[in-house]
């Protein structure tokens, strides 16, 4: 691979995070917020956007500073940069909506230890130009938000009979309370993984016949 090829920005740069290496469904990174805050669609969306912002901002800064960060202390530097942006998000959400802040609880601050963000900083932002990192981080962020929404929507519809707070089935619907409890998070994510595995198997089986 030449340097020139490495630098080019393609659809793949963006799509990598969105689908092929989706952080949740394929890489299984950052599972804690994925399971903990997806008991309603609105929480899932807020968490996804907050994480995307931190991913973008830290990715950009690390990519800009990639030549001036010494190799030995890079992880510590990354963590401090990420922690700074998480503090900003934390105070911003607190200022915008206290309800949302209370619903997400400590998990906003726990974005710091989301392995996905540190992983991207180490494996992508520190090696690529800022523009490329930004595009990749956007794809990753959208992929993460998409995965959170997948879980949040299913859990809210089944567990509370509503979507984004709007009642769907009327008063005669008996909610599956287990879905908004911790156990439901594991079960729903497991089911989504099964579905994707099944789709992949079908796809590869189809290819081998052709």
């Amino acid at each position: 691979m030449t340097k020139k090829q490495n630098d080019s920005i393609t659809w793949e740069t963006f799509n990598e995070g969105l689908w092929r290496e989706n952080p949740v469904f394929v890489m299984l990174l950052g599972m804690c917020p994925v399971l903990a805050v997806t008991n309603s669609a609105i929480n899932a969306l807020a968490m996804g956007l907050a994480t995307t912002f931190v991913l973008l901002a830290s990715g950009t800064l690390i990519s800009l500073l990639r030549h001036s960060i010494p190799k030995q202390v890079r992880i510590a530097t990354y963590i401090v940069i990420i922690a700074t942006f998480v503090t900003i998000v934390d105070y911003t959400i607190q200022a915008i909506s206290l309800d949302l802040y209370n619903a997400l609880g400590a998990f906003i601050q726990l974005i710091v230890v989301n392995c996905m963000i540190l992983g991207r900083a180490e494996s992508y932002a520190s090696r690529n130009r800022p523009l490329k990192s930004i595009i990749n981080a956007t794809g990753m962020g959208i992929g993460f938000t998409f995965a959170l929404l997948c879980l949040g929507v299913v859990r809210e519809i089944l567990g509370a009979g509503s979507l984004f707070g709007i009642d769907l089935f009327g008063p005669r619907f008996e909610p599956w309370v287990v879905m908004i409890l911790p156990a439901g998070g594991f079960l729903v994510l497991g089911t989504w993984l099964l579905l994707f595995e099944w789709l992949n198997l079908k796809k590869s089986a189809g290819r081998s016949i052709l």
């Binding site: 804690c32 903990a36 992880i75 922690a83 400590a106 726990l110 392995c115 156990a183 099964l194 595995e197």
Partner: protein, 193 residues
């Protein structure tokens, strides 16, 4: 100042609000290192040790931060302490048990990004526990983590011996197991608050 008794805090952290199965903290090692009991136990012990050290440090640091009115630096200060504590454990393990050090591999430095540890430090600050309560809370959370990861490892060792459809091999079945474990831990919910 929280007034909960020490035994309540301990039981609450181990069973009713188990860090892994009820609060979803520390899932990466829970899913990643729970393949065998032989590696799950040392991983649990290392995590518990880091929890203890960082809980003590976090308590002292919070006192300083509050005294100088600079609480917005809390997150950065905590994460720096945790990273140092993990480094300490890593050096100790490398010296005393190189074999174990190798078998834990990448998951040892990843304790830094284990949300259970930062979560513990943050929760004890939110709940305004005093020094002794924080200590008991850390021990309880560590015990809860060991319990969860050992149960999971035991189940997965049994699973190795059984035949499964090829579609369920991999992460999906681990998550399903986690769901069932979590469901059974819900039975303890009445114990805590």
């Amino acid at each position: 100042m929280a007034t909960e008794s020490l035994s309540f805090i301990f039981l609450n952290a181990v069973l009713a609000n188990n860090f892994v199965l009820a609060l979803f903290l520390g899932l990466c090692p829970f899913l990643g290192v729970s393949g065998k009991i032989n590696t799950a136990l040392p991983m649990g012990l290392a995590t518990m040790f880091v929890m203890l050290v960082s809980s003590i440090c976090a308590y002292l640091i919070n006192m300083v931060l509050v005294a100088f009115d600079i609480e917005f630096l809390r997150l950065i200060a905590y994460i720096a302490v945790i990273a140092s504590a993990v480094q300490l454990v890593e050096m100790a393990l490398k010296k005393f048990s190189p074999r174990l050090f190798r078998s834990l591999g990448i998951f040892l430095p990843l304790i830094t990004t284990n949300c259970a540890i930062l979560g513990l430090a943050l929760f004890q600050t939110f709940k305004e526990y005093n020094f002794l309560q924080s200590l008991v809370y850390a021990i309880g959370a560590g015990t809860g983590f060991i319990l969860a990861i050992l149960l999971m490892a035991g189940l997965r060792e049994k699973l190795e011996l059984s035949t499964m459809p090829s579609i369920t091999q991999g992460a999906a079945v681990s998550l399903m197991l986690g769901g069932l474990l979590s469901l059974s831990f819900m039975g303890f919910a009445g114990l805590g608050g």
